[in-house]
Amino acid sequence: MGRAKLPRKSTNIDMTAMCDVAFLLLSFFILTTKFKPSEAIAVTIPKSVAAKVAPAKDIVQVIIDKDGKVFLEMDDETVKETIANTLNNTKGMNLDVKAFKKSPFFGAPFSALAAFISLPEDQRKGNNLPGIPVKDTSSNELVTWMALVRDAYQGKKPNLLLKGDNMAKYPAFKSVVDAFKKNDFLKFQMVTNPEPVPTGTDLWKKAQSGEKREE
């Protein structure tokens, strides 16, 4: 019995469909990707099970680096302008308001703030900046800063964030929290990296039963 001869098929495959998929994925990744903004202050943040995404707008962020130096970061330019004007008027500081507005963060005692502002931006790197002095309870300058922020926001609540390095010591954290407390900022959020909830724990059981987490 003769076997039916299978016709030889061409090994060429139509690549169009594959090409479509590849470029679809490519455009997806291009659109979703967010390059990490180059950060002047290197901070490794701890992990937590918190599920809420940290806000990115209207933020006032206090950064504690690994040596316990404290920096203040703000994104609202009008607020920064108000603060600069207030500082110029009340403390008699000769600050360049424009440069102050453009500066993404502040990390110098008030006495050296004018010099800090005049530094070119690429030289403002965390490791050689003095930071805002907080160590002494009597001369905790962050208290003044937070008061300025509070006044500049005029009753509105900014998203107060605290970003600390894993290795920062507790006293730095405590003095920052004290500065918050003194200015009636009683709610703040700590920036962390997400971590899965350990199985078998109460929170895990809650999540399994479909209960919503109160944040």
Binding site: M15, T16, M18, C19, A22, F23, L25, L26, F29, I30, T32, T33, K34, F35, K36, I45, P46, K47, S48, V49, A50, A51, K52, V53, A54, P55, I64, L161, G164, D165, N166, M167, A168, K169, Y170, P171, A172, F173, K174, V177, F180, K181, L186, K187, F188, Q189, M190, V191, T192, N193, P194, E195, V197, P198, T201, D202, L203, W204, K206, E215
Partner: protein
């Protein structure tokens, strides 16, 4: 049979003398393009950071000036956790005994067990209060970890409290003792 001849002048049946230019196929080899596409995809996959930073919320209590304004907690439901240097954790239940007999050493791994045990042994869940006392030596990470532990074990009532000098001494002493190989 059921196929139509779509090739209009596919080259086979041509009248004599008719010279037609060879029709080139419109098909392009897409393989290099696909290669390039996937190369770019891999690049973007590796550079992208999908995980966004999350925020752990902490609400501070307002400082109570008068002692009668302060929150009271039942002794039976209270557990105090102290954080020492090098990720050491200490705890005691209720009030600290004068001879510090209820002062126990733990680690970040075991503290969950301790908390769960305490939580189940407390009769009324409303009385279950965790007091966190970070010492000067502990790191920010320790503080976040222990606050996270509160979230994991659904401890709704907890407070960050300043450490007392007696407790500081006790933590230091225990750490020194643990530093020597006594097999504690």
């Amino acid at each position: 049979m059921a196929e139509m001849d779509t090739s209009s002048g596919g080259g086979h049946k041509k009248g004599p003398g008719v010279k037609k230019g060879k029709k080139l196929s419109t098909r392009v080899d897409l393989t290099p393009m696909v290669d390039l596409g996937f190369l770019l995809i891999t690049f973007f996959i590796f550079t992208t950071t999908m995980s966004q930073a999350t925020a752990l919320k902490l609400i501070l209590p307002k400082d109570a000036d008068k002692p009668e304004d302060q929150n009271k907690a039942k002794q039976s439901g209270v557990i105090t956790i102290l954080l020492g240097r090098d990720n050491n954790v200490f705890y005691y239940e209720g009030e600290l005994a004068i001879d510090a007999s209820n002062f126990k050493t733990s680690t970040f791994k075991d503290i969950r067990e301790v908390l769960i045990n305490k939580k189940t042994s407390v009769k009324d869940l409303k009385d279950f209060v965790v007091i966190l006392k970070p010492s000067e030596e502990c790191t920010y990470r320790n503080v976040v970890d222990i606050l996270d532990e509160m979230a994991i074990n659904v401890c709704t009532r907890y407070a960050l409290v300043d450490i007392t000098s007696i407790e500081t001494q006790l933590v230091k002493k225990t750490e020194e003792m643990a530093g020597t190989p006594t097999g504690q």
